[in-house]
Symmetry: C2
């Protein structure tokens, strides 16, 4: 067992595996064994079959996407969750599962200094919930907003049928919002309008208001806007301080997607980036990205969860219980019915790191990004694509997209570090995300050298 | 650590906790600590704070809902998954994660003797995927069916707008289908028609066809039917052999929800209950219920996943990779974007139990239900509500609903065993589900005695 954990954390290998599609099937039998295999064989197959095909997300050499979290406290808590193995769909199905989640979302909300309206401890309607992913949070909020707007429009215009109202609903997001936001529109069956961001890739209040006005003039019904704090492409922060007032003015539900960057709000110095949060209806970020809680743990707060709860409240006798109403039944807050005891890993991480160490973790990553930015700027062949925010550096070789595409191919082909690209407008660039909790200064130096050597090769070719 | 696992499995306590809503908040601080707590305190708080509020789903005295699975191989595999901690949204994001899932769903499909069209190993379009829950599988299939039908209708009647087509779509399920099926209709924004079941609580082909014909005559568009194999209330099996041909005749996508009972199809003697499976478009069951794989692991197969994949394919540059098309990118098969390495626990359970031991596990549970049925029938105060299927016995005291409600209250109030009720038509009854992998004959005897003693008290009052 210990051996298995050791080679998982052996980051001396390539960060990207060299296997090709279909590699695994020939390595194992083509059907399950009739009689049990033995433990030794199974464990050694982790090394033989699995590890050669693993992309090492926790290597300091992994800089793709955004981080995914991992820590011993979270893994131990997940073991306990696996052993208790309750399904917390209602309060009575395992009271501790629901109650710890309520209190942990309060702890976490306080760490971010969220307005008290979002917290269960305020005694109002608000409260938090653990979703699986930010994609689900975006969809849940959209469905809540849809239900709320349907009710309002039916009061105002009782002659309209449900189908007609739905066909007129319009949601908004920045053109820079994550692909899952567009997907939430598809899943929810409503129009999702992508609004042009400003030259810093941020959604501004004025652009949103123009879009809303145009839609209102066309007889449509604006109902939902997603403000992204920390976009995937460049970690741009939409101007929530402008979007909030516009949303409120037009009765448009403001949902904040801070999937990656939200963890930084545990540091007071970054909270200016969520100015306007008091005007949002719902807020979401992923402790499973940057706050050392293993996937899945996506924290979501709602000022009035009843819009979500009532929209999908299907209540069969076999799920009823005597305490309904005096504690949340989280099954009404989410897409799936079943749910694991995920609050345990949040509790373990918050207690066993303490707020200070979590702040330090965030600050170190941001510092590493600044270091990399400096290395990049000191090399005249390179340019920084856009303001460096959080643990992400967007950079490129001065020159064509083609040369930058070659650079990326070269870097990933060498396999020592791993990056993914993005493109805004016509400009292709590389993203260097600081991802690992094991990262040290010398790792950033190493990653820079890989980039630099790859550039040598590309430019000399 | 070991101590923690020991008290988790201490089933001498009440199966239902005695805590009341709000019990937990006063037991812990009202915010996260600034500096780390120590491990010993955290682990001992499991016993002090958590265990008093846990409902013991794995106690042999737990008979509510349906089982949720739990085993050492699954927990160990989850630890490895927690340590590897990759996010398998695309093939390149961790090839092993995708590839093991493809092969495990083939292994599992073969164990159930699913038609080869569902298996990736057949070389056709079909294949399997691990969803979080059956609720999500029902929704994913509904959205695939919606996309498929939209395309067909737009070809046949190009004058119809999307909004008009959506407003005419009708899905079908038995009135006995799980609440999550009705909810899938709400989430997907389509009408879900509940069709009356027969006197054995099964959806029949004729009733479905009548409903479809009526809707067609009214200008509506039937597009999706959910056949439940093993309903939650009574474990009734819809007549898939009749529903399949009707669905195919009217171009209605047939989805099979065998969430609980599907595990029994690993035993050849129960496969007659899924007769007609070759006519379904999609099939789903939960190894995390009855096949010893910890939650979440909901296995779903699709004959043609492209309907789902293409319906929600949003493909930003940062998620593209060179191998696209030569292996599945599972992010397109599901609602969330992120996904854990869940195939590991399926692999571990299949190998470390072997097919024979898993079959024995199913057969033992079915045997225990038969034992309980006999005990019940031998007591003239009781009656069996409907045919006993799988590990579920639906029973009641002869007499009024009120006396049965009192009986349930008495049983759960004593707290030694835990049951939930259901109601069909006007008849309230109790459900005795065999849930624990630790259950022995004497446990069923104990549970019967609890029921019998409670009946003594209720009837003498």
């Amino acid at each position: 067992m210990l051996k298995a954990f050791c080679f998982i954390l052996n980051f001396k290998t390539r960060v990207l595996p060299t296997v090709t599609p279909g590699y695994l099937r020939p390595l194992i039998p083509d059907s399950a064994p009739e009689k049990p295999d033995n433990w030794t064989d199974v464990m050694s197959d982790i090394e033989r079959v699995i590890m050669p095909g693993v992309t090492h997300w926790h290597s300091p050499k992994f800089h793709a996407y955004f981080p995914t979290a991992n820590s011993y406290p979270a893994i131990v808590a997940d073991m306990l969750s696996g052993a208790i193995a309750c399904i917390g769909f209602t309060w009575i199905a395992s009271p501790a599962c629901t109650e710890l989640e309520v209190v942990m979302l309060d702890w976490l909300g306080k760490m971010l200094d969220l307005p008290s309206e979002f917290l269960a401890s305020s005694g109002g309607k608000g409260g938090g919930v653990i979703q699986g992913t930010a994609s689900e949070a975006t969809l849940v909020a959209l469905l809540g907003a849809k239900a709320k707007t349907m009710q309002r429009i039916k009061m105002e215009q009782p002659e309209l049928s449900d189908d007609v109202i739905v066909s007129k609903l319009v949601a908004y997001c920045s053109e820079q919002a994550h692909s899952s936001v567009e997907r939430a529109g598809l899943l929810g069956g409503v129009h999702m309008r992508k609004v042009k961001a400003d030259s810093s890739h941020k959604l501004r209040g004025e652009a949103l208001e123009d879009a809303i006005k145009k839609d209102l003039a066309a007889g449509l019904i604006p109902f939902y806007v997603v403000a992204t704090l920390g976009t995937t492409s460049t970690c741009a922060f939409d101007r929530l301080d402008e979007i909030g007032p516009v949303g409120n003015r037009y009765k448009v539900w403001v949902h904040v997607d801070a999937a990656y960057a939200g963890s930084a709000f545990i540091c007071p110095e970054y909270r200016y980036l969520m100015k306007g949060i008091e005007l949002a209806e719902s807020f979401n970020f992923n402790p499973h990205k940057w706050m050392l809680v293993n996937f899945d743990c996506s924290a979501m707060w709602l000022k009035d969860p009843n819009w979500v709860v009532d929209a999908f409240n299907v209540d069969p006798l076999y799920l009823k219980h005597d305490q309904q109403g005096s504690a949340p039944d989280y099954r009404h807050w989410q897409i799936p019915l079943g749910r694991r005891f995920r609050a345990l890993k949040l509790w373990f991480v918050l207690r066993l790191y303490g707020v200070e160490n979590l702040q330090t973790h965030i600050q170190r990553h941001i510092g590493f990004a600044k270091d990399f930015e400096k290395l990049c700027m000191a090399d005249s062949r390179f340019e920084i694509f856009t303001e460096v925010q959080m643990g992400l550096v967007c950079f490129r070789l001065k020159g064509t997209n083609e040369v930058n595409e070659s650079l990326l191919k070269k870097i990933n082909g060498r396999g020592n570090i791993h990056l993914v690209p993005s493109k805004i407008g016509d400009t292709f660039f590389l993203r260097m995300a600081v991802c690992s909790r094991f990262t040290k200064s010398e790792d950033m130096q190493y990653s820079w050298e890989e980039v630099s050597k790859s550039a040598d090769e590309v430019l000399s070719a």
